[in-house]
Amino acid sequence: MRAADLTTAVVLIAGGLLVIWDSLRIGIGWGTDGPKSGFFPFWLGVLMIGACIAIAAQAIRRADRTPFVRREAIAPVLKVLLPATAFVLSTHWIGLYVATTLYMASYMRWIGRHSWLSVVVVSVTVSFVTFFVFELWFLVPMPKGPLETSLGY
């Protein structure tokens, strides 16, 4: 945990420096109409760096050597994160509805080991229900791909 705590603090300090750098660029002083745009973020950055240095100092003093993630726990986390990332990526190319169908189907088949029949029924139903509820009922347009376009949406 100590390494993870230190890494996070260092990343946040870097983020704070980025905020300060950008605030200095747009001005942190007094403009013609009050405080300039960078005034508020500048002080946020300063406070953040100060607090993170203190957190890092506390972490160094503490001898907590438990790992951030246990080795056997990495696999289940990645089993959620990687398919989810693939789903978001594929939404870019083939639209949300087709991506949802494929995501549901592959997840049910490879992780849940459900029968092909239930895989097909559930994944297709979920996409259709999503389509009817959001696209038709609530009129919220979702990202669409070539299939929807060829069907006239």
Binding site: M1, A4, T8, L12, G15, L18, V19, D22, I26, W30, G31, D33, G34, P35, K36, S37, G38, F39, F40, P41, L44, G45, L47, M48, A51, A54, I55, Q58, F68, V69, A73, P76, V77, K79, V80, L81, P83, A84, F87, V88, T91, H92, L96, T100, Y103, M104, Y107, M108, I111, G112, R113, H114, V122, V126, T130, F134, F138, L139, V140, M142
Partner: protein
Amino acid sequence: MGIENLLLGFQVALQPHNLMLAVIGVALGTIIGVLPGLGGANGVAILLPLTFSMPPTSAIILLTSLYWGALFGGAITSILFNIPGEPWSVATTFDGFPMARNGQGGQALTAAFTSSFVGALFAVVLITLFAPLLAEVALKFGPPEFFAIQLLTFSSFVGLGGGSALKSLVSMLIGFVLAAVGLDIVTGTLRMTFGITDLMKGFDFIVAVIGLFGIGEILLTMEEGLSFKGASAKMSPRIVWDTWRVLPRYWRTFLRSCFIGFWMGFKPGGATPASFMSYSFAKRFSKHPESFGQGDIEGVVAPETAAHAAGGASILPMITLGIPGSPTAAVMLGGLIIWGLQPGPMLFKEKPEFVWGLIASMYTGNVIGVIMVLAFVPAFAAILRVPFAILTPLIVSVCAVGAYSVNGRMIDIWYMLVFGVIGYVFKKLDYPLAPLVLALVLGDLAENALRQSLIMSQGSLLIFLERPISGVITAVALFFFALPVITPWWRRLRGLPTPAVSPRET
């Protein structure tokens, strides 16, 4: 005077046509509240075009009922799935979800609905009695007072939140920084966009909430080796009745939360800080604060009561002053103008049947709401029997749909994923997530209040202490900020032992 007006209002609200609209509104609202990311504001915005052909009173009854429904529905996902449907349901997850995990889902839901009802009812009664007077008080609020209130909200996290005060502070600062990204409305300058077009519109708190709490929680549960499943809730008249018999014991919490909620409901974004503040206070005053976060029914009562008292109160500045107290109220305000009504104090004189019809419908809408949600919880509980291999991708894709529907931008789905990973890491390292979300919601408002105050004082921070109302609030806020520093010193002085760090709340 008040009674006569209210009777006039009930004549409007109890018309069969308007009652039916209230039922439809509550039902739709509950569905919207249950779907993460599709909150009250979106629901009202989507329905708004359908109301243009209705009489304004019927339209506002439909929209406010949808709002109540969404408020009730948000509690269902918070408790059963640990996914807050709205930012003010975040605090409900702290104890609601552990309760559901311990097999007390039915009790948690009953407590949440009842508290919501009590909070909302309290707010409506106060609105009925004190509307003109309270509007006058709020009129005297200038930017320094608004900023002082916000300072108080955040100080209560750092000072009373438990856990690491430094990490609470950092979490809050991250939220403010994220809120500052994009166009600065005051000067028109682009901030922290680094030439990237997608960053110009900044970060939406709904997307952040979906990622941090929705996706982050799935990752965390997976790591703990549990197959992801929502907690189960049995709902029967027996459970409802037994819970109702326990609840009067918490009358102090109810009362305190009602007042916190109503007071905070004045100012924009009030429901979320109200729920957190009420939770902190309930924990602070509890005889057994260590049970908070483990499934204490009081931890459900406090935030739900306050959030709904604030939700009700947020309607008040909208109709009396034309200042929306919540994002949803802001959308409704847009509707008012489209229907040809002028929001403001004159509305009470010119359109009494509209104002009092709306106030009366807040009574009927909440009664309909609490009956409907209590009756239909078994239907929602049925969702929980779905295997996790279906539920996981389903929740991820519903979250994606929710994130996308906020602005219709693909980048928001990516943000959701990134916030999910951040949520996972932060939860493991005991960074509280709630201050981050709250700062993201209130960031622009807090900054504007600060800048306007500084313009008023020509750059002197003393303005917050010199004005009487803001002076008192700021002093209390500074005391809370100093608490984590004072407490260990005070304990050493008195020779008391240092307590262990309290369990994480998020």
